[in-house]
């Protein structure tokens, strides 16, 4: 699980082009949206693509993303339980 969290952090930094943010800067329970990392609606859509591409998880309803993309912790838990690759 720890490895998955680290992997997610570096993927998010890369895919969402987060400049000047390092893996160490992101805590497992930091909010990804709003005040935390300050991600926006396009980032949320991009995270849906990331779930599909890297973990074989297809979200059919974008509203599901809301509860999944709360933090690295919630994302990792969801991926661990639902991944197909």
């Amino acid at each position: 699980m720890e490895a998955l969290k680290q992997e997610l952090k570096s993927k998010i930094i890369e895919v969402l082009n987060l400049e000047d943010i390092a893996v160490e800067d992101i805590n497992d329970n930091d909010a990804l949206f709003g005040d935390g990392l300050g991600l926006d609606s396009i980032d949320a859509l991009e995270l849906i693509v990331l779930l599909d591409k890297d973990y074989g998880i297809k979200l059919t309803d974008p509203k599901e993303g809301k509860s999944i993309f709360v933090s690295i912790e919630t994302m990792a838990n969801y991926i661990a339980a639902n991944r197909t690759k």
Partner: protein, 204 residues
Amino acid sequence: MEANKYISQYCVIENNSVAINGEPQFALENGSFSEFAKAAYKHFGIDYPKFFKMDNLSKLAFLTSEIILKEVVNPAEENDIALVFANQSSSLDTDAKYQSSIADETAYFPSPSVFVYTLPNICIGEICIKHKLQSENAFFVFGEFNAAFMSNYANLLLETNKAEKVLCGWVEYYNEKFKAVVYLVEKQGKLEHNEQTVNTLYTK
């Protein structure tokens, strides 16, 4: 006869170098556009993390405009600065990138953050957001730099009181080849605003 208009500031980016009002200010000897853009961003002390999410056309348009606007815009008040931009390749650089993400059936992952930049006017949106410019805007495409159209359109916006100032720009980017000429037209300044001077900014 309408009152004269002037070009108060201009910025040109090409060949990995930046010139402001004709004076070279920054250059990066070697490097890709994205390396150059990042170096210029740092050199001019810009602090706007969203910059790194932009596609190359938006980075180019944003940088060239920001160098002028950071001196001109007063964040404490409304700034009625219209944006009139044009280029030759539209958003084709990002279009090609997006197309490659849907070309392979075994690796078919269309990216929303790439797709959103497959419109040339997104770069105008980025500049407007940075400075809260709720003002006139339009993006045009021409086979080549069109000084006559640009100067006519800017003049008309000023003469019909659709804007107080007009930021005009030629922002061309395709596959590491780029050139941006951005200039501010208003009622005061040193350079008279007409087709000829606009052409000079582009060619010199």
